[in-house]
Symmetry: C2
Subunit: 336 residues, 2 copies
Amino acid sequence: MVPPLRYEDGALLVLDQRLLPAEVSWLRCESAAQVAEAIRTLAVRGAPAIGLAAAHGLALGMREPSADLEAVAALLLATRPTAVNLRWALERGRAAWRAARDDGRAGADTLLELARQLERDQLDADRRLSELGAACLPGAARVLTHCNTGPLATGGYGTAVGVLRAAHAGGRLRQAWVSETRPLLQGARLTAWELAHEGIPFRVVTDASAGALMARGAVDAVVVGADRVARNGDVANKIGTYPLAVLARRHELPFYVAAPVSTLDPGTASGDQIPIEERDAGEVLELFGRRVAPEGAGAYNAAFDVTPAELVSAVFTEAGVLEPPYERSIAGAVGG
Amino acid sequence: MVPPLRYEDGALLVLDQRLLPAEVSWLRCESAAQVAEAIRTLAVRGAPAIGLAAAHGLALGMREPSADLEAVAALLLATRPTAVNLRWALERGRAAWRAARDDGRAGADTLLELARQLERDQLDADRRLSELGAACLPGAARVLTHCNTGPLATGGYGTAVGVLRAAHAGGRLRQAWVSETRPLLQGARLTAWELAHEGIPFRVVTDASAGALMARGAVDAVVVGADRVARNGDVANKIGTYPLAVLARRHELPFYVAAPVSTLDPGTASGDQIPIEERDAGEVLELFGRRVAPEGAGAYNAAFDVTPAELVSAVFTEAGVLEPPYERSIAGAVGG
């Protein structure tokens, strides 16, 4: 698998995911501003991966002798509002910086070491939650997933795609259904690319196809990632996730969320408190730079929706499989 | 509004809807085979409009002195399996042909006159069902619709789009939400084009956005068209319709179907008897001829799904607003 981030020769190389799968191209980021731009423009995306990118961005930014920790962190935090991993990684960075300064160590070196440690931690967390999640699936499972939650999205083994990988490795996966994930097609472009690389059988469907697949009995479970899980278990994730959860409930199918503990946000009481990013209408109205809708047409382009906790069968984390009541299980996972 | 079909100088001119809204281009069809190709390749689409095209195709085909009625009808019927209007129009044509022969009239002329009569009937039916439907909407309604059901799809005033037009004309429409309708984007391309032409306020959304819009309280009703309504009220329509009905139920919103009586099929007992067209995977995996998914990826591309009658609040037809129990109300509409 190709990783989304590589640190080399004093720079963060960011795989430009906007060009995949047609082109494998790396952006060289030597400053926090360049990393922020890569996050903002979705060259790197996926809640855990943007957390790791932000950690590297902080390290790069603080190499400047005159740099201000809070200003650099604010620059990175302002890139995208919904994924809590961004804030989480920056808070880890702030704490590491202060600890280093208290000890008289070089802050920038400490931040780079932290970013590398977070990458190793992410891989461990992904593997663990993927194993736990795969064990929850029925045998010969046909699993529907949404958006991209593989190594490209996490910098590790993947979350929902990690569950598919672990299930495949354990002989428990019959087939993945990959919803294409409009407007930016992370399913068709990125998840398909990753699953093909792993030899996992899959087929792409439009986002509107899930109901028909479930009605035909062609889906055994839904597994998705998350950008933020509130204290009560409400889940913000790529738009289109909530309809999958509603359909899964109607068809009495399990709806699972796979997310590292860094995606849990006990500081947010419920889903209606989660800021939902609205992106440019052009993402909907144009494809490959070509206008689809007539001139003058407008679009509403929210990047995420919120799935209420009552529709979530379980949350797979590296701290265990969290089940309702989520207030308690999430508090235990974060505190543990 | 630009009509989808025009009969001129002995030929059927078919507006090539695949090129809209970027280009207004007409295909000249002088034979049944050319009309069949226009239907099969979606140059003309929409259940009522393909019925009208087939009626014209039959008339064109039977101008050939040696033509066989059943062979020409079979050629046209084989183009697309789901919309029942195709079969309905061809049955009307067969009956007209036989009646003309019995009376010693020229069969081909009779078929052309029938096609023109069906066009007038469609306009009348659309207007009537649209008025009836608009009267069912709340005031200042924000209505979500799917795919394209305007004049381009019916050759008349439109069905679900007709309801929007009538509601707008009556001051009852605040805004339309237009789901883009992957894979062929009939919502973003065609419905947006028609609504813009009419000055109806609208915004385009991805198909996966409906849940988020409903959760925000931004939708008052869903109105869609139909390709076939079974005897029990189950509705086959563009894929993605069924999820909208499930979401509408969850949010306690009315889910309306707008369809002429020619779309009702009392000969089909229920939705699971309706043949669902599966189209080429390339429609999902490529956009504007550019590959989106990696080479080797497959797709499942069903063109329609089935919404169970229990999720349908009412069916707007020119014979009245049909309500449950649908076995009775549909039988009444078809027989009346």
